[in-house]
Structure formats: C-alpha cells, structure tokens
Symmetry: C2
Subunit: 187 residues, 2 copies
DNA sequence: GTGAATCTACCTATCAATAGATAGATTTCC
DNA sequence: GGAAATCTATCTATTGATAGGTAGATTCAC
C-alpha cells in the first residue's frame, strides 16, 4: 500500500469516526493531504470504495489486535475482558467512537455494499463472543450475552464521546463483568 | 403547531432516524410534503433550528411516555423495566433507532447547539435512571448501572437495526434485568 | 543499452447535481 | 385589509465525479 493511500485511509477513518460518513468529503481529505480531490479519486474511484477499504482495514486490525491480546488466555472471562479492552482502547486512543459503530448507526443511509460490510463486522464480533463465552452456558444464553456485551460497548462509546466522559465506558465494562462468566461469577 | 410543521417534523424525524442528519435535506422533506424547499425554510429558518425542534419534541414525548407508563409503579425493577420498554417501543414501532442515538453518534459533526441538546437528552436519561435505581445501592453503583443500561439500549437499537433482527434488543433487555435491582435480584 | 511503451501518481479544468439559504411576489383565509 | 403560508426564482457553496494531460519511474523488445 502506497504512502498516500495509507494517509488517505488514516484521514478518512479519523474524520468519519468523528463526524460521520456524509460529513466527510473527498475535498476535506485532499486538503488534509495537500493534494487535489481528483487525486483522491485516482486511489478510490468512488466514495463507497474508500468506505469499504476502511471497513476492511478496521476489521482486520481489530481482530489482529484481539487475537494478539487474547493469545494464551484460556479463561472465558479473561478473553471477554480482552474484547472489552480492545473496544476501550479504540475509544481512548483515538478519542473517537468505533468506525463501525458510526457506520452502523448511519447504515440505512449508506451504499448497500458498505452497509453489508459493516453488518459483517458486527456479526463477526458476535460470533467471536459466542465462541468465547463459557461453554457451560446454553447456546441461547451465550448469544444473548454476546448481544448484550457488544451493544453495551457500542453504546458506551457513543455516550462517552457525546458526554465527553471516558469514565463511562470504564464503568460499563466493570459492570459488564458481572455477566461475563458462568453463574458463580456473579458475586 | 400547524399541520405542515407537524408533518415536517414527522418526515424529518423519520428520515434522520433512518439515515442520519447529513443525509437529509430540505428538498427531501419538501418533496415528501409536496411543497417547495423555500416553504420549509419559512417554518425552520436553518436546518439547525429544525434539528433542535426535533430533539425537543422527541425528548418531551419520551419523558411523557415514560412518566405515563411508570405512574403507580413503586418497585425499582418495574420502573427500570418500563424505561427499557419505552426504548424498545421506539425501535419497534418506527423500525428506526432513537433520534438521539443517531444524533449522538454524529454529534461531533453537528452544529454545537444541537449537539448540546442531544447531550442534554442523554444526561436526563441517566439522571432518571439514577433516581429510579434501588436506593439501597451506593450512588456510584447507581451511576454505573445507569450508564450501563442506557449504553446497552442505545447500542442494542443500532445492532438490531443494522442486523435487521429486533430480537436483539429483547435479548439485551432480558439480560439487563439481571442488573436491575438490588443484589438479591441477580438470581 | 537504448528507445518505445507503459505505469504511477498526480495535475488542471470542468461537470451536473445538490446543499442551505434568501428576496420578493402571490395566494389563502379570517 | 392583513397576516400567514406558500410560491417563483435565484444565489453561493459544495458535492462526487470525470476528462484529459503530464512528469517521472519502470518495463519490455530488439
């Protein structure tokens, strides 16, 4: 990947996570890189292409980070906690919500292929959680808890950002831990 | 409020909850009402004014519904459950996420006054939850649980909508009930 | 090895469409 | 008559997108 493409993806991810897909234009990105908007179109023919490249990169990076951080961890609650920490880190490091939280909210206003990619990312998150929740829980409970955990994290990012209080996601993650493990974990 | 204003607010709320603030134009709204876009500007001078009117109406309606449904309920878990049901109803009836979930996600790309109104709505939600959680919980725990409940509901709406599966919010609400009451409620 | 062909990465210039917004004329209704 | 509501007509700015061109690096054919 060329340097310009990387910078474009970085700038686009930053802006979209901050303000949303429709609030970001090719000219904004071009200005930030001090090139012309036509040159942005050279690298990404359509805005939708840029969006799809962003989601792919974000998804790859997310799961790479998740796998790296959870390697060696065998306890479900440690693995789920790692998942939460990857989300927390995404918010705290960039001071922006998750790319796919933003795009998921806007998804009905996005090109169909892009919305589908976003849904794919969310579904992969759910699948990972279901696979990593305690196996002594019935499958239906694992699914419910996966939905609960992912919903809470996505919502907590939005709340934390909107109310400008990063402690919100920390409180939510701490409270979530009551639901992590098998029943005896709810002490 | 004139009939046209009501129709405008309805159309704008519908579109923004579906696609986001920046994906909705005065011309879209005008076309839907079969009037001219200049007439929309007659009722709402600036787009920001329309946004603020929307948030005010949504907030008033939300708390009116919440108060009506929770009147007479004295048990914290019943009152909190009512809160969740109002959110659930917002999603299911309109097949759209909460207006303020959408606007909160986009808030850094919104006019400042509008973003502030959205933050006010979310803060009022948190305040209501804190006031209605069991008083035997310490204040800090009530705040954490308030953040948790609101985050989960906002996130669950986004997930339900994006994955086109309304059972997700039901599962999340059911799972949330484990955290509603005082400790003995976690059975 | 060298000239021709091709590729990369940008550029200028421009397009049609759409955005929010406004002035001023016209209609509608009491 | 007068106020409210809507219109026509238009403005400026911006959007995503395209056409066509160019400097410089790379590759290929002989």
């Amino acid at each position: 990947m060329s340097d310009t493409v990387k910078k474009l993806l970085d700038a686009a991810e930053d802006s979209i996570r901050l303000r949303g897909y429709h609030a970001v234009s090719f000219r904004d990105l071009a200005d930030e890189l001090e090139i012309k908007s036509a040159s942005v179109h050279y690298h990404f023919r359509h805005k939708e292409d840029l969006g799809q490249a962003l989601v792919k990169r974000y998804s790859d990076s997310f799961f790479a980070s998740l796998n790296a951080k959870s390697v060696g961890l065998t306890e479900p609650r440690d693995r789920i906690d790692t998942f939460c920490q990857v989300y927390r880190q995404a918010l705290v490091e960039a001071d922006r919500i998750c790319l796919c939280a933003m795009l998921a909210a806007e998804s009905c206003g996005l090109p169909a292929a892009l919305a589908k990619d976003v849904a794919g990312f969310l579904q992969s998150n759910i699948d990972w959680l279901v696979d990593n929740l305690p196996t002594d829980l019935p499958a239906s409970q694992r699914l419910s808890k996966a939905h609960h955990i992912l919903s809470s994290l996505q919502g907590a990012m939005i709340l934390s950002k909107n109310l400008d209080d990063q402690s919100i996601i920390d409180q939510v993650i701490a409270d979530l831990s009551l639901l992590f493990g098998s029943s005896q974990a709810q002490s």
